[in-house]
């Protein structure tokens, strides 16, 4: 086979800060997704393009469930809508058995529209306006209260409803080294959580069915989960022993790190990111040990996981095309591609893997990748090793499944097509590219500007 032509370049010798791992020599590239040529996808759906792999999504889900179900009898996954609320993605998870986890009235309605039984919608978050809270409680959703103010509203709602109202409590706790998210829920160590329980019991109108904690996101030190779940199990044990409350669920939230690299770390992802087995062992062992003294096996609370980014990140990819190249003053080569922080919000904290979609040979050099926006901050990778790409070449950026399709924006540019490749190799358009009419659909012009 004829090797592709590589034009000669002169690159500055970099003798300064050397990377102790050295610069790997490789011609990494990815030309297909699940056997589907990327060039064909671009031809058909245009650029840039988000692509989801159902196969990867299912595989990830099964790995998660395998790991937990060997260690704890009742584990349920609640799909965290904020991570990705594209209908097709949500429904894929619900098909697999995921419940829904929502943090707003908007997400709640999305879950309902996706056909999720309200009894399997976990409603979290610090902001549940009265009508929204009322609807969720009426429906019998799993509502985790964040504050006493929320409780008072729930109590008022309970007095209007005929069926018993059940709630859970969001808890926070000190985890030693890890910075815990302490602005949500009731604190355990200070006694705030126990006081809330007593207040709720005194109110008599509302049953406590569960407890919930979400200790943060991208938590890769699993010891934090052990500490948190130990405290939750102690709390559950105390509720049962002292108040006769037999909790139905313990929700440990999300936060599992995905196989992405946090900006500024050197370690490669595979070394640093715990496996599902590691997370499961860290969570299930202390949980089971902590509960067995007072809970009979058949009444063990359901363990709810709200893992978001880990479940979907790898299933999603962004394909983008080089629109121009330039040499920076520093000598570094620059690429301007058609997807920027408007589409890849997560590039603010991740160093995504960026690969060419065809073989460009072994000769790599440092690049900076810019997005298409007219903003200095629109940088996808400040520094990345790539071969010599030209205008019109495309790259695949991954993992990109988590938080991008919810946090993307129509800033300067419209949002592109999103497709999903099914397990059996079919491609389905799951979100059509926007046009200006769609963007302006809601706009009106006041009469004084008319004419």
């Amino acid at each position: 086979m004829k090797r592709p032509y590589e034009s000669p370049t002169i690159s500055r010798h970099q003798g300064g800060i050397t990377n102790k791992f050295g610069v790997g020599v490789s011609n990494r590239f990815q030309s297909e997704i699940e056997g589907f040529p990327i060039s064909k996808l671009l031809q058909e759906y245009g650029t840039p393009l988000f692509v989801y792999s159902e196969k990867t999504l299912k595989k990830t889900y099964r790995e998660m469930l395998d790991a937990f179900s060997l260690r704890y009898p009742k584990t349920r996954h609640a799909w965290s809508y904020k991570t990705n609320y594209l209908k097709a993605v949500c429904r894929s998870f619900h098909r697999l058995g995921s419940w829904a986890e929502v943090v707003s009235g908007m997400e709640y309605e999305m879950a309902r529209a996706n056909g999720v039984d309200p009894r399997f919608i976990v409603f979290n978050g610090p902001y549940k306006p009265y009508p929204v809270l009322k609807r969720a409680l009426e429906d019998g959703a799993i509502v985790n209260l964040d504050s006493l103010d929320e409780y008072f509203e729930a109590e008022e709602i309970a007095s209007q409803l005929r069926h018993p109202v059940k709630i859970g409590l969001r808890l926070n706790m000190s985890l030693g080294t890890h910075m815990s998210w302490d602005r949500y829920g009731f604190n355990i160590e200070s006694g705030e959580a126990l006081a809330a329980v007593k207040r709720i019991l005194a109110g008599r109108k509302i049953r406590i069915e569960g407890i919930h904690a979400h200790i943060g996101t991208f938590v890769y030190d699993v010891q934090n989960y052990s500490t948190a779940i130990t405290k939750l199990a102690e709390f559950a044990t105390a509720l049962k022993r002292d108040f006769g409350i037999s909790l139905k669920y313990i929700d440990i939230g999300g936060g599992f790190a995905s196989r992405n690299r946090l900006r500024g770390t050197y370690l490669s992802t595979a070394d640093m990111i715990p496996s599902f087995d590691t997370y499961a062992e860290a969570i299930c062992k202390p949980l089971l040990d902590g509960l067995t003294s007072v809970f009979h096996p058949e009444e063990l609370p359901t363990l709810i996981l709200e893992s978001g980014r880990r479940m979907v990140d790898e299933a999603g990819m962004l394909i983008s095309t080089v629109s121009s190249t330039k040499r920076m003053n520093s000598g570094t080569r620059g690429l301007v591609i058609d997807a920027g922080v408007n589409l890849l919000f997560t590039s603010f904290w991740y160093d995504h893997d960026v690969l060419p979609t065809s073989d460009h040979g072994y000769s790599n050099e440092d690049h900076v990748i810019f997005g298409p926006l007219c903003m200095q901050i629109d940088v996808i990778r400040p520094t990345v090793h790539l071969p010599h790409l030209e205008k019109g070449d495309s790259v695949i950026i991954k993992p990109a499944g988590a938080y991008n399709n919810t946090q993307w924006m129509q800033f300067i540019n419209l949002r592109p097509n999103v497709v999903m490749i099914s397990e059996n190799g079919k491609v389905g358009l799951i979100r059509r590219a926007e046009d200006v009419a769609y963007l302006q659909e809601r706009e009106t012009i006041p009469e004084w500007l008319n004419g």
């Binding site: 099964r62 469930l65 260690r71 098909r95 697999l96 999720v116 009894r119």
Partner: protein, 706 residues
């Protein structure tokens, strides 16, 4: 008033029907009528029955039990006995009143002692004791006159041939009336009520006759009713009718016949053994059966007796409730592969044939991750090992080190283990545990599903796995005994259709999932008082879930009443019994389904699930069943029965479960099953915790209205 009258008549009639283990008013009426062949004698029975029931009522015994005749029947018998030995005078009535009080007190005491200490029925023991006591005391009473012989009064218009005459006389003898006429009336009542009962009585009679012909010279007069009742009690009342029960019934009859002769020798001249031989024979057998380890043959009924036919119908339900007494689960969480089953080629042989080895497996069928060279690579290693059923820890061993992968330790074959006693003579043993992982100690009670240790690689174990066997003693390495698992999901990798196994054994390479603990909630949130509205064919119907005073859960339909009794354990909804109208949608639903695993994606289960269920074929299963089929129950004594075998398939999607049922009528023979014909296919949909609709051959006949 009407309520009181019906209470009174129920109490009276059932005080008679209970003599033949029946609660049927018509059987009671027949016996009552036959006792009135000699009115004065019959009156003593009524007086005894009513006064003992009244005394029980006055001192506050359970009104339902009284209404079932459970107090009255010993009174009736005592009355008839005393009325037989003495002629009816005011003095006799006075003595009889005392006797009735005595027999009620004895009923309370003896029933209590028998139930608590023997778990066996006392039957007519109170009557025996009360009658003996009164008879003994009466030897000092000058006021009672011995009755005159009265057989002459009560002949049949025609003389039945031998041995039918003897049979009829002995049936009459149950009421102390040695007349073919009363025997004939009772036989007619019995024929109408239960053919199986009649056949059993005849079998018992013939067995007793055989014993007499071959072993004894002297005739035992009228006491042959003892073997007859023994055969009825064992063959149709306390056991589910069938070939094994029939054999045991004959054993009971022979035993009772021999006891009659033994007692006749032992008892003083003027005392009779009464029903003691029958009671003793039945109690001996019932207690022995209750204490046995394997109970797959001659299965005992544990609750309420109907006619043997009804008992047969409830056999399915009874099998389920027997299962409920000890539901054996797998000793792990999640999905594991059976790497060696019963009679496995490696080590499950000889004494240790009834054993299983399990290794944890992931969705892609892998047993290990990475190179598989260390224990840690194996998914099973370090996972919790669970008690397979409730029990008490009998023996544990810890401290045996784990082997490196591929090597075994034959010095300490079982490695670290935990042996649990579940019932006398029934122990489980989980072996090859990880050293230092035991979480329980001998003497400690454990619950099904409770972790006892972690899976390791100690003892004769080349790869981390769990060895599970049941054995009759707590000694490690004791011979294994057979057992069945309950409520499992069996299948391959997660994408393949799974099979729900309500009970059974496992085979090598099957992948088994422990679902008993992961199921939560039930298909019907049957908190008493939940209601559903339906349109069935053209009429409206309401269903309501209820709990009766004993704690049985059922759904009842209105206005036409059908009752569907069910269990809801370990996330499996099982219909145990259907009563009442057959014209309702509830009946149709109950007849379409027998057990329903509560599987859905919301509960962590995806994909289609299959299962098979067989039910006895009677009106409860197939509507428009020819009436003669009731007669076919007689065949069940020989192990032949009509059955409906149904293939179920459930496809769950979030919040909805679609079920199709493909029933087939079969003839069950002792050596196999003969398919007869396909029955109409049914489909139903569950959503929102209720039946949404049900269709037969594609036509929707039941629809929920909201």
């Amino acid at each position: 008033m009407a309520e009181r009258l019906s209470y009174l008549s129920d109490t009276l009639l059932r005080s008679y029907s209970q003599i033949l283990f029946s609660e049927s008013r018509s059987v009671g009426a027949a016996i009552l009528a036959s006792s009135l062949v000699i009115p004065a004698h019959g009156f003593c029975g009524i007086f005894g029955g009513l006064s003992s029931a009244a005394f029980a009522l006055v001192i506050g015994m359970d009104r339902i039990a009284i209404r079932k005749g459970l107090f009255g029947f010993n009174g009736v018998l005592t009355g008839l006995a005393l009325g037989h030995f003495f002629s009816l005078t005011p003095q006799l009535l006075a003595v009889l009143l005392v006797g009735s009080i005595l027999v009620t007190l004895l009923t309370i005491l003896i029933n209590h002692v028998f139930m608590v200490h023997l778990a066996a029925p006392a039957m007519s023991m109170p009557f025996n004791v009360a009658t003996w006591l009164i008879l003994l005391a009466s030897m000092d009473f000058g006021i009672l006159n011995a009755a005159l012989p009265r057989e002459a009064l009560i002949a049949l218009p025609w003389e039945p041939p031998y041995p039918a005459d003897l049979f009829l006389k002995n049936i009459g003898a149950i009421l102390f009336q040695f007349s073919p006429l009363s025997g004939f009336i009772i036989t007619l009542g019995l024929l109408a009520h239960s053919r199986i009962a009649l056949v059993l009585m005849i079998a018992g009679f013939l067995a007793a006759l055989g014993v007499q012909e071959f072993l004894f010279a002297s005739e035992p007069q009228w006491l042959t009713f003892n073997p007859m009742l023994a055969a009825l009690a064992i063959g149709g009342v306390f056991l589910i009718p069938g070939p094994a029960s029939l054999l045991l019934a004959l054993v009971a009859a022979v035993l009772a016949a021999i006891l009659v002769h033994a007692n006749l020798e032992a008892f003083p001249q003027n005392l009779s053994p009464l029903a003691l031989p029958f009671n003793a024979a039945v109690i001996l057998i019932v207690v022995a059966l209750r204490l046995r380890t394997y109970s797959s043959r001659a299965v005992q009924l544990t609750t309420g007796f109907g006619s043997p036919e009804t008992n047969l119908k409830n056999a399915q339900a009874q099998r389920k409730s027997r299962r409920r007494e000890m539901r054996i689960g797998v000793p792990f969480f999640g999905k594991w592969k059976v790497t060696q089953a019963i009679d496995g080629q490696y080590t499950h042989q000889g004494y240790w044939r009834f054993a299983y080895d399990f290794q944890a497996v992931d969705s892609s069928g892998q047993l290990w991750k990475g190179p598989g060279e260390t224990c840690q690579d194996f998914l099973a290693y370090g996972r919790p090992v669970l008690a397979p059923a409730d029990g008490r820890v009998a023996l544990t061993l810890d401290g045996v080190p784990d082997n490196p992968v591929g090597s075994i330790n034959t010095d300490q074959n079982w490695g670290n283990y935990c042996i649990i006693e579940h019932s006398p003579g029934f122990h489980s043993c989980m072996a090859h545990l990880k050293p230092g992982s035991l979480m329980v100690s001998p003497g400690q009670p454990v619950r099904k599903g409770q972790p006892v240790g972690l899976c390791g690689n100690s003892g004769r174990s080349p790869y981390p796995h769990i060895h599970l066997q049941f054995q009759s003693s707590a000694i490690p390495g004791a011979p294994s005994i057979p057992f069945e698992f309950q409520n499992l999901m069996v299948g391959g990798a997660s994408t393949e259709p799974l099979t729900f196994l309500s009970h059974g054994i496992l085979r090598e390479n099957e992948i088994v999932e422990n679902t008993t603990l992961s199921f939560d909630g039930s298909l019907f949130p049957c908190i008493a008082g939940v209601r559903w509205a339906y349109e069935f064919k053209t009429s409206r119907e309401t269903w309501e879930s209820m709990v009766d005073p004993i704690g049985n859960t059922y759904i009842e339909s209105f206005p036409l009443r059908t009752r569907l009794y069910f269990h809801d354990v370990e996330g499996v909804f099982e219909i145990t019994r259907i009563e009442g109208s057959r014209e309702t949608g509830l009946f149709l639903f109950g007849a379409s389904i027998s057990e329903l695993p509560n599987i859905s994606p919301d509960r962590g289960h995806v994909g289609t699930v299959h299962w098979l269920a067989s039910n006895s074929a009677d009106g409860a299963v197939i509507q428009a069943w020819p009436p003669w089929i009731e007669m076919s129950h007689l065949l069940s004594l020989l192990g032949i029965a009509f059955q409906v075998a149904t293939k179920y398939q459930m496809t769950p999607t979030p919040g909805r479960r679609h079920i199709s049922a493909d029933p087939r009528l079969c003839l069950k023979l002792p050596f196999g099953k003969l398919p007869l014909k396909a029955l109409p296919k049914k489909e139903m949909l569950f959503a929102d915790g209720a039946v949404e609709w049900l269709s037969i051959e594609g036509t929707t006949v039941l629809r929920r209205v909201k």
